[in-house]
Subunit: 260 residues, 2 copies
């Protein structure tokens, strides 16, 4: 689609300029992006976008890391297992609602000494989810129509990942934290409509653009399901699932034990 | 120490130029860095260093994220819980040893279908640790002399974190993967000597520079302990510890339950 990284940067700059002119002063931009890898040389694309957004006077509030647990295995470097999400605001008077996105405390029973004796030291409503977000591959893709894409071949999400195929909760958490009921949420690369569906489900107004008619059709179907409350998505706020050691897949196979 | 971000950049550029002239063609640079935060505006410092290293023809192989589980809680943005480590090489003929840094498979029992029936699908030696590294605060700081620093006041590592206080395993994994026995490892900001001690313990030659005489003294002591095999560090290759739910700190306190 783009002849070079420079052509891509130029196009994106034009887009970001338009977005900026439409964005409210209290609004936020969330920009989710991966790496450009050529001959084993890695360029994290957030480097490029940080520069562009900064030139348009946006302020970076967080570079959020979202980690996944699947993908190609690299041999001459460490395997890529995360992408980044840049959260920018136009000014200092931005919306940020922490309470709806708090996650459970890992150590809720931790105490601190007070004048009234030892008291729980955390917040009972949960903790700030931090700038690092973790998702479980299996749960994230369960029941998602992306499973039906022609380029997803086997029942392994890692086989071929659609670029827009990020977990519902990434969008959901941004919408809950950075907007209020009735606000407008725009996704210029709507894909299969994860963001607009989330916006709908959270009583925001979702607007999405998508170039590819196949994705667009699917996005409209999913949006309709979201309106009817029938879109199957992973519940937000759940901790990633970890094998408990009793399941077969979590046990070291006899075959490996036989190796010595 | 520096009057501005620009003064800092200039100084760092001079340093990186010298490092480059000393580095072997098969060598690597690992650059660990955090964020510069001013008035709630975040500048990830790896952005600055990527630019400098690129100007000196270094190739980025991975931007590694290392996550920790403690720190200040932000109220108007998401709390910072990771730093980055940029791994650069001078050329394409670089050293990378995956086997000594493989980590246990999460699902060792996962199988794939082969002509000989279902076989375990992973590598029995473990998996590529990926570009995302997780460490447990408590284990990382246990038995570390950093506990004795005057600016660490309570038994919470989060109270005041010495900038050099990264877990031993961050250094250890880089040394194991990117160097061989007998190679030289240079740390221009040696602090309390984590990197040089690791180098020593792994039969590499560690060289460190440190400006602050208090840290330097401690670094020398720790290096001596490493030589004698007496330095207490967290064992590499262990998964982060997670509370199992039975421990008191992992249980929701009655006080919170009473809130309704």
């Amino acid at each position: 689609m783009f002849s070079s990284l420079d052509a891509y940067k130029e196009k994106m700059e034009t887009l970001i300029e338009s977005l900026s002119s439409k964005l409210k002063d209290t609004g936020s931009v969330c920009w989710q992006i991966g790496n450009h890898v050529k001959d084993g040389s890695v360029t994290p694309l957030d480097y490029i976008f940080f520069e562009i957004f900064q030139r348009h006077n946006f302020i970076l509030r967080n570079r959020i890391i979202w980690r996944f647990n699947f993908g190609l295995n690299a041999r001459k470097r460490f395997s890529g297992r995360y992408e980044t999400l840049l959260w920018f605001t136009k000014g200092s008077d931005y919306k940020f609602n922490l309470d709806p996105v708090r996650v459970p405390q890992i150590y809720p029973g931790k105490t601190k000494r007070t004048e009234q004796g030892y008291k729980p030291s955390g917040n009972p409503k949960g903790k700030n989810p931090s700038d690092f977000w973790e998702f479980d591959a299996k749960q994230s893709f369960e029941g998602q129509p992306v499973w039906d894409f022609p380029n997803v071949k086997a029942n392994h999400p890692e086989k071929t990942i659609h670029p827009c195929q990020f977990p519902n909760e990434v969008a959901d958490r941004c919408i809950l934290a950075l907007t209020e009921i009735g606000d407008t949420v725009l996704d210029p690369f709507a894909g299969v409509g994860t963001v607009v569906s989330c916006a709908e489900a959270r009583s925001r107004v979702g607007i999405g653009f998508e170039f590819d008619p196949r994705y667009l059709m699917l996005a409209n179907e999913r949006l309709e399901q979201a309106r009817l409350g029938e879109l199957v998505v992973r519940q937000s706020g759940r901790l990633p699932r970890r094998p408990n050691g009793n399941e077969k897949v979590a046990q070291v196979p006899q075959e490996w034990l036989d190796l010595g």
